[in-house]
Subunit: 108 residues, 2 copies
DNA sequence: AGCGTTCATCGTCTATCGGCGATAGACGAT
DNA sequence: ATCGTCTATCGCCGATAGACGATGAACGCT
């Protein structure tokens, strides 16, 4: 599912997928959110808001971005929605980047 | 390993650094550029332009972003400027992300 | 029933991104 | 000296990101 596709030839379309994942991670607030989420096992939006010194709406947006990117799981539990890190997805991104970097540094 | 700084408290400033690096990587064109650069050992702007179906000015911009992020080395060789991947820097980013992911998945 | 809390969404504003063409500087070649 | 090539930069634009406040729905509690 993830990619036994084109081997190391990779491809152009693939770049887009990786880029999209990395884009979701390329914001300090979102990284902080991930850290906080993982530290707290799982938590609601409010908890993140308190921790982060950003407006609730802004945090909600960042969370949505992370969810859309598939890096965070979301469960609308009554009021207190629960957000929790999708470890597998995260590790997958890390692996993707590592693969990219590796293929770029294969020369040395 | 590379960062015995603040342990797991990590820090807010640190997130910014990682985010900045990842931002440079979060664009398909730039990933393609990296791939091409690494495949060609080193090359000039024009070479990338031919390969990429983007205007020369656009490519130059992307290259600048990569250089500013410290992921690509730049040497203004007469006309034919030489761009080449900074393997160490790239690996460093990969490690940073891995560390982040790892700390987020420590629970499981 | 009514209040407080939580959250997602909407609209708005500003800044930045990503693209392009045009331009100017630096060279090599003629 | 002039022409063609390669770069980097500038100016411009549409689109998007990122922030906020306001709003309304859903819920718990009293």
């Amino acid at each position: 599912m993830n990619a036994p596709l084109t081997e190391k030839t990779c491809g152009f379309a693939d770049s887009q997928a990786v880029a999209a994942k990395l884009a979701a991670l390329s914001h300090p607030a979102r990284i902080e959110i991930l850290r906080h989420l993982s530290a707290s096992r799982s938590c609601c939006c409010r908890e993140v808001v308190d921790h982060l010194d950003l407006a609730q709406s802004t945090v909600s947006q960042h969370l949505k971005i992370l969810v859309d990117a598939g890096l965070v799981r979301y469960e609308p539990d009554r009021q207190r929605s629960r957000y929790e890190v999708d470890s597998d997805a995260l590790e997958d991104v890390s692996r993707s980047l590592a693969a990219l970097v590796n293929s770029c540094c294969s020369g040395r």
